[in-house]
């Protein structure tokens, strides 16, 4: 008897769950299909075509991709993107880690420093880039004016093929180091006190404690942050657009800038789509790596 009642009660409820469940996710699902899934497929399709903005498009098979492989400008851009990433990521991570270590001490007034270093994160990238374009300006820029006080003639930072990229990297690191710092502080604060006490009992010094206690404990966060920062660096665009427009002589032209230029300035939509897929594959590999690492660590964490 009882069982029968239960069953009857469960029936409509379960059916209700089916209906409302799908109903609740339907707006997002619809949007997702139209605004992500469909364009993703269409981009793949476009990458196999010669696709001007106006006029007929023409199927060309893998020609766009083979063309990319022999496009000298693509390899230049690829190299620039790699330079940006390899320059930014270690600089950003090491600085963020050092700041996080200093700021996780309980000293008086330490919150002020944390705020100061986090403020650029809250500032618009475009504003930050405009201000730093001014800082790096050849005649009126603060950097060169300060150098002049030491009788050093400053360079034309953003107009020098060798210096423009480092200038953009510095600007980008300063913009975002606060974000990684905050992530690291959160991780450091979660390291158990007892581990430090044990280390102290064993007579481990500060350096030793850092390398044997803190660093291993926050390694998952550090790795995830590295992957995130790498992916972010591969997509750098705004600061390049504002500060150098890819110049001088293409020395700061990065992948997304090149995609944007091909698609929306030269209107070679097919070629640009193929370029975008190159970016997608790199990001895909990194993301899969990140998921793999996370799975392993989550497992380890529950294991411990």
């Amino acid at each position: 008897m009882n069982r029968k009642v239960n069953k009857r009660k469960k029936g409509p409820l379960a059916r209700e769950a089916q209906l409302t469940g799908w109903l609740f996710i339907s707006p997002m699902l619809l949007g997702f299909t139209l605004l992500l899934l469909f364009p993703m497929g269409k981009a793949l399709y476009m990458s196999l075509h010669d696709w001007p903005l106006l006029g007929e498009h023409r199927y060309v098979g893998l020609d766009n991709y083979t063309e990319i492989a022999v496009d000298p400008l693509f390899w230049k851009v690829f190299g620039n993107t790699a330079t940006f990433t390899l320059g930014l990521v270690p600089f950003n991570i090491v600085l963020a880690l050092m700041l996080a270590l200093l700021l996780s001490k309980s000293l008086k007034g330490i919150g002020i420093f944390r705020t100061a270093i986090f403020v650029p994160v809250m500032t618009s990238l475009i504003v930050w880039s405009i201000v730093w374009k001014y800082m790096f300006a050849t005649d009126s820029g603060l950097i060169n004016q300060l150098l002049m006080m030491f009788n050093i003639k400053g360079a034309a930072w953003l107009y020098d093929e060798k210096l423009a990229m480092p200038a953009v990297i510095v600007t980008s690191v300063l913009k975002n180091v606060g974000l990684n710092m905050v992530l690291f502080i959160a991780a450091i604060q979660q390291v158990s006190r007892s581990l430090y006490e044990a280390a102290e009992l064993d007579g481990a010094g500060k350096t030793k404690t850092f390398f044997n206690v803190t660093l291993p404990m926050i390694t998952p966060t550090v790795f995830l942050t590295v992957v995130m920062t790498v992916i972010g660096s591969l997509k750098v665009f705004g600061q390049i657009y504002v500060m150098t427009q890819g110049g001088p002589n293409n020395s700061t032209k990065v992948l997304v800038y090149y995609i944007w230029e091909k698609a929306f300035k030269l209107f070679q939509m097919g070629y640009a789509s193929a370029l975008a897929f190159v970016l997608f594959f790199v990001v895909l590999i990194l993301t899969l790596l990140q998921w793999q690492l996370r799975k392993r660590w989550v497992f380890n964490e529950t294991d411990a």
């Binding site: 409820l13 469940g21 269409k42």
Partner: protein
């Protein structure tokens, strides 16, 4: 009882403060310089040595900006687009997030996984076909793409993820009690779950707002008319136009930055925690 700090310890504390002061100054000097230049007369920008306090304060810079560019329009567009996107994202993402966390329907996990995996699609890939679709719809040079794409695109998916994580932690007993009282799902979601999920919504709000307020790529490709531009796009165009009229550029950037920074200082803790929380999950 604290032990007396030794001389070497004092020294290292001083070192920490010194290092932090240097880094903080590097972060803050650009803002001070921006503020200082925004009040300068053009001829005082190039004076040597550099002067932090302008010899003459020229407030007219701020007034001039409004005649040079439709700055108030940029501002209004940025504010209202951010507002609509935040409201839309929080509503639709929390609705879906609640369903993914609490309603046992068939295919739930599979769909969630598909949504999540879409988060790795770089925006630049979908932007090109989207541009063509928006052109076919006649939506180029309107705010529709700037509003719809983030709500229902990757930003929305991220929102679902954040909200689902949050709803999962809420015990099911509450819902069961309400259901026995005859509440339907939407009422439960609206009247019971959403109020509890306020911290999660606050996190999502902050994250979405900061992202949209700073969004540059989409406005760049979808908007052509000045009056329809958002702040980042308008400012970048202004940079191209006025070249080295830094006094104008800096007054514009001050106006674009200061209100947001005030909000940030008021709700600092929430902001930093929110970013730390969502940042780790991205």
């Amino acid at each position: 009882m604290k032990p007396m700090p030794s001389a070497s310890k004092k020294l290292s504390v001083a070192g920490v403060y010194a290092a932090l002061t240097v880094v903080s100054l590097i972060m803050l000097v650009p803002f001070l310089w921006m503020l200082s230049t925004s009040f300068k007369q053009p001829q005082d920008i190039f004076t040597y040595p550099p002067q932090l306090i302008p010899p003459v304060f020229r407030f007219q810079n701020y007034v001039d900006v409004f005649t040079l560019i439709p700055f108030h329009r940029f501002y209004f567009n940025s504010v209202y687009i951010s507002f609509v996107v935040v409201a839309g994202t929080v509503f639709f993402a929390s609705l879906a997030g609640y369903a993914f966390a609490k309603i046992p329907f068939t295919g739930r996990n599979a769909v969630f996984l598909v949504l999540l995996s879409a988060m790795m699609i770089p925006h630049e890939v979908t932007a090109i076909p989207m541009f063509l679709s928006m052109r076919d719809l006649g939506w180029i040079d309107t705010h529709l793409p700037l509003i719809l794409l983030p709500i229902f695109g990757a930003g929305g998916v991220f929102g679902i993820f954040v909200m689902r994580q949050f709803f999962i932690t809420i015990p099911t007993e509450l819902e069961e009690a309400a259901m026995i009282d005859g509440c339907n799902r939407f009422r439960i979601y609206w009247k019971i779950m959403l109020p509890i999920a306020r911290p999660g919504m606050a996190t999502l709000t902050i994250f979405t707002f900061v992202t949209i307020w700073n969004e540059f790529f989409d406005p760049l490709i979808f908007i052509n008319t000045r009056e329809l531009m958002t702040l980042p796009l308008g400012l970048s165009l202004f940079t191209d136009e006025v070249g080295t009229s830094w006094h104008y550029l800096m007054s514009a950037t001050v106006m674009a930055t200061v209100p947001l920074l005030i909000v940030f200082f008021l709700a600092q803790k929430r902001f930093i925690e929110g970013v730390a929380m969502t940042g780790l999950k991205e």
